[in-house]
């Protein structure tokens, strides 16, 4: 028996959230939810783990900082030390004060861009990619649950009936 996608379409985030709670209580596993804006409080309900993208950002930032510092150390102190206005350039510490601004800026630069790129890749959103939302209006004013029959022991009909208990606009079933 083939896997079926059941789409429960709502017109309000609050309703969707409540319905999701209801279904999950009934043991239905909700694969995904499509909404025009983030529905707060939904993630724990449908069991989404917290993203680790912030940690990635931190790592990128640290890379940036160390890159900047080693770079400036190499340029100003190691490779070609110059007497600039009599200022000391004997070691990175004597010269550190004037390195701080760029170190910071470069750290931020790497953190921000690294994170942004990771974000786009993980969401699989890049120029020219096709969108995968089932209905166009999910980006406007529709809120849709995606439930796979494979994920659930209960049968398609039961799921449908469970959904029908909630204030759903429409239920749609697709073969995948």
């Amino acid at each position: 028996m083939s896997d079926k996608k059941i789409y429960a379409i709502y017109d309000d985030d609050y309703v969707l959230l409540e319905s999701a709670k209801h279904l999950v209580a009934k043991g239905v596993y909700i694969r995904d939810v499509f909404s025009p804006f983030p529905v707060h409080g939904l993630d724990p309900v449908i069991g989404l783990k917290r993203t680790r993208i912030a940690i990635a950002a931190f790592i990128y930032g640290m890379i940036g900082v160390s890159l900047a510092l080693t770079g400036m150390w190499f340029f100003m102190i190691k490779d070609w030390p110059l007497n600039v206005g009599g200022k000391p350039n004997f070691s990175i510490f004597t010269n550190l004060p004037s390195f701080i601004p760029i170190t910071f800026e470069f750290g931020v630069l790497c953190a921000a861009h690294g994170m942004a790129i990771t974000y786009l890749l993980r969401n699989w959103t890049l120029p020219g990619f096709k969108s995968r939302n089932p209905y166009p209006r999910t980006t406007d004013d529709r809120f849709v649950m995606e439930i796979h029959t494979h994920d659930n022991e209960v049968s398609e009909e039961e799921i449908k009936s469970l959904i029908n208990e909630t204030c759903v606009l429409e239920i749609d079933v697709k073969n995948s």
Partner: protein, 1049 residues
């Protein structure tokens, strides 16, 4: 194991062929037919290259080599095919020569590179000038490469060739009786004899025998005439001559309107001696009084300066004489209290003083002679016996000549070295029209040349052989440093040719010296040695015994009565010469035009100077600026008017007088209109001679005029750490804190507050500079710096600094690396006087701080003046270096602040962050942009030849600044290295230091404890400009000391 491999030269060796073995013993295995060839005469003859030919070739190549050396330099880079032996590419040659233009006399050294003269400095071997030059002499090298020079002789206004001109002139000469020569003063003995030959003719007695020769007509004429002095000396001592002055011995110097540092007489002979007497560390320092109408360079250096009207000069002289007990019953003057002081000092320094007057009035000069005679200065500080030949022009003769010309009695007139149509105007022009044959030797199409029938362009001085005898017994030689650029001919040669004498001037000169000068001396046995030595040294000094002059004898009362009826007026004018243009000789020289006037700092113009107080009364604008325009007047002096002259405020200008510089109104470079206005019409000429003073009337012109000044702020604003000055008695007391206190800051160290010298305060562990290798630096003595600006032009010519023209200068973009800051004292704050900051604040409290500052911007009506050469200070903690994003300017380990032009991206951040504002930005592409074609000589191929190949020409958009002549430093180090010695102190000189006539600038290694520079650095008077900012410059200045009692006017 030994290498047993064996290589055969060929199979023969392998087979050990018999012949091979035999021949292998010989040096040449095969037989060479040398003997046959040389032995067989026939074949030798028949061969194309005989020994004879070979020698011919050899000879030719040598000739070619020597020819190539005097080839017209080609601006395209072409390698020498035959390298002339005295020219090594990249190595400069120096030739001793002489500069004399009828006004300035200076023995010079000419620096040539690859056969091009590019730099002129003074010849230190001369005891007359002691190496002194001024901006005009220094910049004259540029006029050699002036594209407007005549490139061919001209006949009737059209280009021609020498043969035509010569034949034509010879023919006309044949049937012209009355031949006259009008020249400037000729101090060249050889030339004098040529002109004498030319202008003299044989006189026959009634029997028809040759009785002798008499000089028929040779008039010497100085546009700036000193015939007053000549005549006065004629009257008083029976010798019409200019005395020589020895300022070195003068303890009291009284000058009444004589600007003897800039233009009066042989100023270059005085500068160095004068400076010697201005050193406060010597056991005596000369006291210098200056009575004058317009603020002159000399006036700015005087200890006491009294502004007086020119009509009062005579009266003042008379009164001095009177008070000294000369038998003249002079009336009292407004200035008697000053005169009392003067007389006092003169009496205490009998025979050790000099009294001079700038007036060209015979009678005034008679009284001056009387004073000096009374003081017993003659023979001590003033020498009339060994007189100066440089100013021989006699006005009376000129008047006579003009009369004769007007009467049509002059058939032929040869005009040499002067431009009378420009200086004398219409009178002369109309008179000249009546002369049948008029020949000019002008090297450019001057006003005179334009109306002369023939123009026989003279060589430039740097292309000519010549000699000079400025003072009896003092000779110098001029030798060409480049072969003729154009089809010109030296005037002397022309005269010889027309006299039918075909000897080149060089030979003539040589034989003349052989006959006349070699014979006077005893040092050399053979003439050749004498000649070579003279050429090498440039100067020959044979102070032979000379007859003394007659004792002083004159009726002073006649003179005095004559003086009494000198006309005075509400507004009196003084016609002056400024440092750049002089009597007009420098008018067509862009470098000199762009050199700011030492006082007004105005460029590219002459202008009426007036006391600011009077200007305010008239409602004139006294502050010049980019958009603050000058008011304009027309000046009329006895009937003659000069229109549309801008009025510039000159603090110190005597009230009721105005000043105006002569020599302007000529076209510069390719400019369409003339620069400034010709003021010569205002010079009045009567039988008494020229007068440069007069009663003027001003008419306002409703028109505003842009004046380009490089310094618009007049005063020091009470800042005492920029320049410092004190009085002699304070200095002699010897307490450094009174006149040159160290900058201290209140700091807290281990719990207590202490005053700490800023030198010791540092934010960081600095890069070490003390006692590590070289540390190039300078000390500049503000006492001996007289502000003459020779260093400015010298810097221009050494460092290829772009000329940018009036409009850009007005926009405050002058490119000079070295400028001379001029500060006037204000009524509220002396210039750089120490320890008066609190006085200032007191004043500020009285009239409110802000008002105090506003008033401080006004200079006093008769201010004290200070000149401060300002160039890159090469700070050890330079602000400019830190801020450059691309590290285009960094510090060398020899203490130089280096500028890498080709790394610069032109953010101008360094210039903003320079506390001394000495950085210069290339706002445009000066060497190509159309705006500068007119003014910038380096935009035409010829003008480019003056560029110094050691210094790169900066491109658009990069920053530039004083490099302390790093190219000279490198050269010097190289020499030392070749000689494998350490760099000797003084062996390296920057351009400004070489040019300084008073040696105020000392360059050297500050880490070399024995060097003059570090000596000056450790001197008590030494200070660094705004040291408290903590940039630690390597340029030290020395406090100016005026010979005054404290609080003395």
């Amino acid at each position: 194991m030994a290498n047993s491999k064996k290589y055969w030269k060929g199979l023969e060796q392998l087979n050990e062929d018999a012949n091979f073995l035999a021949s292998s013993q010989n040096e040449f295995p095969e037989h060479l037919p040398v003997d046959e060839f040389l032995g067989d005469a026939a074949s030798l003859e028949s061969s194309s290259t005989s020994r004879r030919d070979f020698l011919k070739f050899l000879g030719f190549s040598v000739a070619a080599a020597s020819l190539a050396s005097c080839e017209t330099p080609i601006t395209k880079a072409i390698p020498y095919i035959n390298k002339p032996e005295e020219i090594t590419p990249g190595v400069a040659n120096y030739y001793a020569s002489t500069y004399f233009d009828g006004n300035d006399y200076a023995p010079i050294l000419v620096k040539t590179r690859e056969g091009r003269p590019i730099f002129i400095s003074g010849n230190n071997l001369s005891t007359l000038t002691k190496g002194a030059i001024n901006a005009r002499v220094n910049a004259s090298v540029l006029s050699l490469y002036d594209n407007n020079r005549l490139k061919n002789p001209m006949a009737n206004g059209k280009d021609s060739d020498w043969n035509t001109v010569d034949t034509a002139i010879k023919n006309e000469l044949a049937n012209s009786k009355n031949i006259k020569i009008l020249s400037n003063t000729i101090i060249s003995p050889a030339t004098r004899s040529i002109l004498f030959d030319f202008a003299a003719k044989e006189v026959h007695d009634e029997k028809g025998f040759v009785k002798g020769r008499q000089l028929e007509g040779w008039v010497q004429y100085n546009p700036i005439s000193y015939s007053g002095i000549l005549n006065a000396n004629q009257v008083t001592f029976g010798k019409a001559a200019i005395p020589t002055y020895n300022f070195k011995k003068a303890k009291t110097i009284v000058s009444i309107g004589a600007d003897f540092m800039a233009s009066w007489l042989d100023s270059l002979m005085y500068l160095n001696d004068y400076a010697q007497t201005r050193k406060p560390d010597n056991d005596w320092m000369s006291k210098h009084y200056q009575f004058e109408a317009n603020m002159s360079l000399t006036g700015t250096n005087a200890d006491v300066r009294v502004p007086v009207k020119p009509s009062e000069y005579g009266a003042i002289v008379a009164q001095i004489l009177n008070k000294l007990g000369g038998n003249v019953s002079a009336d009292s003057t407004k200035y008697d209290d000053y005169i009392a002081k003067v007389v006092n000092d003169l009496k205490s320094t009998l025979g050790e003083s000099i009294v001079i007057c700038g007036s060209n009035d015979k009678n005034v000069q008679i009284l001056v002679n009387a004073i000096n005679n009374l003081l017993g200065n003659y023979g001590k500080t003033i020498d009339l016996a060994r007189s100066s030949n440089t100013k021989a022009g006699d006005d009376a003769e000129l008047v006579a000549l003009i009369k004769a010309m007007n009467a049509g009695e002059v058939d032929a007139l040869f005009i040499y070295g002067v431009d009378p149509v420009y200086t004398l105007g219409e009178e002369f022009k109309s008179a000249l029209a009546k002369v049948k044959l008029s020949v000019s030797f002008a090297s450019k199409l001057t006003d005179t040349a334009a109306v002369c029938k023939y123009v026989c362009p003279d060589n430039h001085a740097l292309e000519s052989w010549n000699d000079a005898c400025p003072v009896e017994g003092y000779y110098s030689l001029a030798q060409p440093t480049i072969s003729k650029l154009f089809n010109t001919r030296q005037a002397q040669e022309s005269f010889l040719v027309w006299k039918g004498n075909t000897t080149p001037y060089y030979d003539y000169l040589k034989s003349y010296w052989d006959k006349n000068i070699f014979t006077q001396q005893t040092s050399q046995l053979f003439f050749t040695d004498f000649w070579n030595k003279s050429l090498h040294d440039g100067v020959v000094e044979i102070p032979t015994k000379i007859t003394d002059v007659a004792p002083f004898n004159a009726d002073l009362n006649i003179a005095y009565t004559a003086i009494k009826d000198i006309k005075s007026g509400a507004i009196e004018i003084v016609l002056t010469q400024n440092m750049g243009v002089g009597d007009g000789s420098g008018a067509d020289n862009p470098w000199l035009q762009e050199m700011p006037d030492p006082l007004t700092k105005v460029t590219w113009d002459n202008y009426v100077t007036m006391n600011p107080a009077e200007m305010l009364d008239k409602g004139y604008n006294i502050n010049l600026g980019q958009e603050q325009l000058a008011n304009v007047v027309s000046v009329t002096v006895n009937g003659k008017t000069v229109e549309n002259l801008p009025v510039v405020a000159q603090p110190g200008q005597a009230k009721g007088t105005i000043g105006l510089a002569l020599g302007y109104g000529k076209k510069v470079g390719n400019m369409i209109e003339a620069t400034g206005k010709n003021a010569y019409p205002l010079v009045s000429l009567n039988d008494a001679g020229f007068s440069y003073y007069g009663v003027a009337t001003l008419v306002d012109v409703t028109m505003e005029y842009h004046v380009a000044a490089t310094q618009t702020q007049q005063t020091i604003m009470g800042r005492d750490s920029i320049v410092r000055e004190t009085t002699l008695d304070v200095y002699k007391k010897g307490n450094k804190d009174d006149y040159n206190p160290a900058h201290t800051l209140l700091v807290h160290e281990n719990g207590e507050a202490i005053q700490k010298n800023v030198k010791e305060i540092d934010l960081w562990k600095a890069q070490p500079v003390e006692n590590i290798g070289h540390r190039w630096g300078m000390t500049i003595d503000l006492n001996t710096c007289i502000g003459c600006s020779a260093c400015v032009t010298s810097c221009i010519s050494e460092n290829n600094i772009a000329v940018i023209g009036k409009d850009e200068v007005r926009r405050g973009r002058i490119m000079h690396w070295l400028r001379i800051d001029r500060y006037y004292s204000s009524d509220h704050q002396e210039v750089g006087a120490i320890g008066e900051t609190h006085e200032k604040t007191k004043l500020a409290e009285n009239i409110g701080g802000i008002a105090a500052y506003t008033q401080m911007e006004r200079a006093s009506d008769n201010p004290q003046v200070i000149h401060q050469p300002m160039m890159c200070q090469h700070c050890n903690h330079a602000g400019c270096e830190t801020v450059c994003p691309v590290a285009a300017t960094t510090h060398s380990n020899e203490g130089l602040n280096m500028m890498a032009y080709n790394r610069c991206i032109g953010t101008r951040y360094c210039a903003n962050n320079c506390a001394y504002k000495v950085r210069r930005f290339n706002w445009y592409n000066y060497k190509a942009y159309s705006k500068f074609t007119e003014v910038n000589p380096s935009q035409d191929d010829l003008g480019r030849m003056v560029l110094n190949p050691d210094v790169v020409v900066r491109s658009r958009g990069v920053m530039e600044k004083c490099s302390m002549c790093v190219q000279r430093i490198q050269a010097g180090k190289l020499e030392a290295k070749i000689a494998s010695t350490k760099v000797q102190d003084g062996s390296i000189q920057t351009a400004c230091a070489t040019a300084c006539p008073t040696n105020a600038i000392t360059f050297g290694d500050l880490n070399d404890t024995t060097s003059k520079a570090s000596e000056g650095k450790n001197h008590n008077r030494a200070f660094r400009v705004i040291e408290e900012v903590g940039q630690q410059p390597n340029i030290y200045y020395q406090t100016k000391v005026r010979n005054l009692k404290n609080n003395e006017a």
